[in-house]
């Protein structure tokens, strides 16, 4: 399985997989896809790399410290963005009700808080998938 062709091709296409994943996350408000799908694509890039090079090399790409950090602070980031609504005098997680400028529909900066919330969800999905994969790979059951 771990022959030279597989390793070469994974090394070549890994940046494009990651770039496409982040593209899907960041363009969730103007094109199909979104944070859940983009997070899965980002995680699948790492998982494909770990499949080709083994668990240790895959872990070196995305250390456990990074995934633990993302696991811990992804939801906190989401909750803090929700607090913006309360601070500005609206309900929790308010977007337009809190008076945030929604921008021009169809541009990357449209949607107010939605893009920032999507980044948080995408990071959470990616880190959860990578954590599940490496936990199941490393531990002999």
């Amino acid at each position: 399985m771990r022959d030279i062709i597989f390793k070469r091709i994974i090394t070549l296409i890994l940046p494009f997989i990651q770039l496409y994943g982040f593209y899907v996350i960041f363009h969730g408000q103007i094109s199909p896809g979104g944070s859940f799908a983009g997070g899965i694509i980002v995680a699948l890039g790492i998982i494909a790399y770990a499949t080709a090079f083994g668990a240790e090399e895959g872990r070196a790409v995305l250390p456990e410290k990074v995934t633990t950090w993302a696991e811990s602070y992804g939801t906190l980031w989401y909750g803090l963005l929700g607090m913006v609504g309360i601070v500005k005098g609206g309900p929790f997680l308010a977007n337009r009700l809190a008076g945030i400028d929604l921008g021009v529909p169809g541009t990357l900066s449209s949607g107010g808080l939605i893009a920032l919330l999507g980044i948080g969800v995408g990071i959470r999905v990616a880190s959860t998938m990578v954590t599940l994969f490496f936990t199941m790979l490393e531990e002999e059951v």
Binding site: G28, Q29, I30, S31, P32, G33, G34, S35, E71, G74, T75, Y78, G79, G82, F92, L93, N95, R96, L102, G103, V104, P105, G106, S110, G111, G112, I114, L117, G118, G120, V121, R124, V125, T128, T131, L132, T135, M136, E139, V141
Partner: protein, 98 residues
């Protein structure tokens, strides 16, 4: 078959009966006058762009109208990862080798 198994079977049968009864009461799929087609769907279809400024209506529902729901969806993901770690990690640092 002891009493415990009998009790479990009884409770499971009752639960299945209740679920199937509830499923039988559901309105048929795709009928225009079903309760799912209320003013909520019209509001989403007609006003999502105006109220959220987002072209992708799925994103506008998931991250704006139902943002609170999505927040706890991320907590569901966290719980899933936590459950797998608790079930599979053998604890190498403390020397707890199975």
């Amino acid at each position: 078959m002891n009493l415990r198994t009998l009790l479990v079977l009884l409770i499971a049968t009752l639960a299945v009966y209740v679920m199937l009864g509830a499923a039988a009461e559901l309105p048929p799929y795709g009928v225009p006058d079903s309760p799912a087609f209320n003013q909520l769907a019209e509001r989403y279809v007609g006003k999502a762009l105006e109220e959220t400024g987002v072209l992708n209506m799925v994103t506008s529902i998931v991250l704006d109208y139902r943002a609170y729901d999505t927040m706890f969806e991320t907590i569901v993901l966290f719980t899933a990862a936590l459950a797998v770690i608790v079930a599979l990690k053998t604890g190498g640092e403390t020397g707890g080798k199975r």
